[in-house]
Point group: none
């Protein structure tokens, strides 16, 4: 389900994080569903278990998953406390990137369209 690309530039744990995040965001992994164990995933990706562990830990800090000792890792619901912090961070990035795009001549209508499309995609998905 997750594709690792060594040529990607991003480190392995970042790619695993991004991959899982995408599965969660797109609803393929549902709330409270159990994630593969660290060992399982490390085997199936032929990757060091430490690397998977780290991805899980960071996803937990960002509020996407929660871990239950002795049981495993599970998909969190959106209303976790941490997700607010994450949102603030993302909004900050959004502002910075849009400022630069605006400076580089991206038209407002183009920017609006990009946002528009993402929200439309999501509505169709649900």
């Amino acid at each position: 389900m997750i594709n690792l690309d060594y040529k990607d530039g991003r480190s392995i744990h970042e790619q695993i994080e991004a991959g899982l995040k995408e599965l969660i965001i797109n609803g393929i992994l549902k709330t409270d569903e159990q994630l593969p164990s660290v060992r399982e995933l490390s085997v199936s990706l032929t990757v060091n278990p430490n690397t998977v562990q780290r991805a899980y830990k960071e996803l937990e800090q960002e509020g996407f998953i929660y871990s239950v000792k002795g049981k495993g890792n599970f998909v969190a619901s959106l209303s976790r406390a941490n997700s607010e912090r994450r949102r603030d961070e993302l909004v900050e990035s959004l502002v910075e990137i849009t400022r630069e795009l605006c400076f580089l001549g991206l038209e407002k209508t183009e920017a609006m369209n990009i946002i528009e499309n993402i929200y439309s995609e999501r509505e169709e998905m649900l």
Copy 2:
């Protein structure tokens, strides 16, 4: 004018880059204006000259500044070839961030407002 924060996850040269980029984007540094010399800036930020040099070099590659041997570094005009590649990268980031924000429950109207405000700010500036 530039604040370095050693606790910030970003590396020093990235922070310098971001700071200068902001000054350029916001029009505080005008086209063809001379930037502080590598040595000057390194002293005023109490940072190694190599680190400033690196930030300058990367800004040059991104098309924000140009360097003249023996004279100094200067703000480039925005119509440089490189800026297209940069724009594509930024649009990609914009999409990814908005997707995650959408998932985390940011309302479409809020997202639109953020974009709206940035473009309004800029118009007033000009």
Copy 3:
């Protein structure tokens, strides 16, 4: 495998770059093959690790190699996005050089032969 010449006008990192590029172009280093580590190469060339690092980084930007943190540097496949930009640059140089050679009296047939031979060499190689 790589010869450094301090009398050569080019800087050290440029010579390292050119040397590696040649090995890649001539197929001596195959796609996804691992390059010597930064430290190894720096020792075997009796050169500072930073200098090798720089050569590697620039080769990465030009799309000849890719780097994986904690693992090493590897030969990229030639179908990278960057290579188009590189091609354009090279064609421009080709034009400029040929113009000057033409002026200096190089016969068209001689120029054609040079090109011809290079392409023949390559065909035999494959």
Copy 4:
């Protein structure tokens, strides 16, 4: 007649060299024609005389011009001794660049066309 572009990346003396070389190659400056004096050119380009001096010196070494003490600098004829060394250098560059272009997938016919066109241009010019 010569355009200096501080954003060019190349150093000033290189640009002056390239500019004069082009004028000579294109026959705008004829054999044994006198070049502007160092002082004249430095004034008209608003550039340091040392910089012009250096360009002239290097053009002389490459066999494009010759200098007569107390009189000035003049366009050389093509058959100067030095021009052979220059030709060898250029052929070497030509080979290197073509090799890389070949590797990057430039078709032989495209390469041939580029050469072809340059020689045709020149014939028309004469």
